[in-house]
Symmetry: C2
Subunit: 171 residues, 2 copies
DNA sequence: TATTTACAGGACCGGTTTGGTCCGATATCT
DNA sequence: AGATATCGGACCAAACCGGTCCTGTAAATA
C-alpha cells in the first residue's frame, strides 16, 4: 500500500508524545505506551532503537526513562523515517549510485531521483515541533498553500482529468 | 527502507518503455523484458496486472501484445503507484477515516494527512510523458525550482542544521 | 548492601508480503 | 491446423513485519 511501517508510525507518535510532555523528568516506556495506547513491549523496542540511533537519551534504573536528544524544531520527519525505516527514497537508484543492477539500462533514473528529491524535501520541511502544535503551526498554512499552488498551476497549465476508471483494489 | 516494491518499480519502467516505443503495433512481454533487462515471467505478470487495471490494452494471439490505454501525459506517477501498489498514503489514517484503531487517541493525524497530501501531490504532478523526455521536460526545471525554494526559505527562515550524528544503518 | 526499577541487547516466532516461476486455457494471426 | 501471446491462477521460497520474551546491567532508594 505504499506506506510507512508501523514501527515508524508508532515511533513518530512516541516522539511527538515525548516532545509534548518535555520536561526535566524522563518518561519511561510504560507511561509512553499508556499515553499512546500501544503495547508496552513494542514501545520499548522502538524506544531502544531511537535511543541507539541518537534521537533519544536514556537513563536507566529507577526514575529512568527517555528524553529527546534534540529540540523538536531540529528534528525533521525525514530524520525520523531515516532512523526507523532506513534511507528515504522511492527507488533504490534514488538513494545512491551502484545500488541497482539495471542502472546502465534504466532510462528513468534521473526523473526518479528528482521525484524522490521532492518527496524527501517535503518530509524534511516538517519538524517534530510542527507535529505537536495541533495544526496551528505556520508550516501547515504553507503546506496548504503549496498544495493549492501545485494543484492549480505551478506545474501544468491545463490540469488533466485523472484517468478515472481504474478499478478499486483491496490489497 | 521506505521505497516502492520492485513490482511497482518495474511496472513504471515498463510503462515508460511502452510510451517510448508507442506505435500502432503492440509490444509483447518478451520484447519488453529484453528492452528493460528484466525476467520475462515477472514482466508478463506485471503487464497482466496493468492490463487488468486498465492502464494497458492487450491483444492476444500472434502479433499480440500490449499498448498504452492513455496518452502518456494523462497518466501520473501517482496513478501508476495506486494501481500496482495500492492507495498512496504514508499512514493508514492518511488514506481514509476509520482505518486506524488509535484514531481517537492519536494526536498527529491531521499533520500526517497534510504531509501525505504533499507527497501525493508531488507524485501526481509528474506524468509518464515527463519520464520519457530524458529530463528535458519542463516539469523538471519546475521541480528543481521547488526544491531550491523549499530548501532555502519557503517554509522556514533559518534552515536548521540537520542533526547529523545519526549512525548509518543497513536494513 | 539488598531491592526495586527500568533500559540494553538479544533471540525468537508466526504470519504476511514479496519476488519470481510455471501451467493450462483461450484468443488471434497466418 | 499450427504458431504465437495473453489470461488466470496456482504455487513456492525467502524476506520482512509486528510482536513477545528473557537475560543482563545501570541507577536510585531504603
Amino acid at each position: 500500500m505504499f506506506k510507512l511501517s508501523k514501527t515508524t508510525d508508532y515511533g513518530i507518535v512516541l516522539l511527538a508524545q515525548l516532545a509534548r510532555n518535555a520536561s526535566t523528568e524522563p518518561q519511561n516506556a510504560r507511561e509512553l505506551a499508556a499515553a499512546s495506547d500501544l503495547p508496552v513491549p513494542m514501545v520499548s523496542k522502538i524506544l531502544k532503537t531511537l535511543a541507539k540511533e541518537g534521537l533519544l537519551v536514556s537513563r536507566r534504573g529507577s526514575k529512568g526513562g527517555y528524553q529527546l536528544a534534540f529540540e523538536p524544531k531540529d528534528l525533521s520527519i525525514a530524520d525520523m523515517i531515516r532512523v526507523l525505516e532506513g534511507p528515504v527514497g522511492l527507488t533504490e537508484c534514488a538513494i545512491g549510485p551502484a545500488l541497482c543492477v539495471h542502472e546502465t539500462v534504466c532510462a528513468v533514473r534521473e526523473p526518479w531521483q528528482l521525484i524522490s528529491g521532492v518527496v524527501e524535501q517535503a518530509l524534511t520541511d516538517v519538524t517534530l515541533a510542527d507535529l505537536i502544535h495541533d495544526g496551528t503551526s505556520p508550516i501547515f498554512s504553507s503546506v496548504r498553500n503549496i498544495l493549492q499552488i501545485e494543484g492549480r498551476d505551478a506545474f501544468r497549465s491545463d490540469p488533466v482529468a485523472s484517468p478515472a476508471p481504474l478499478a478499486d483494489r483491496d490489497h
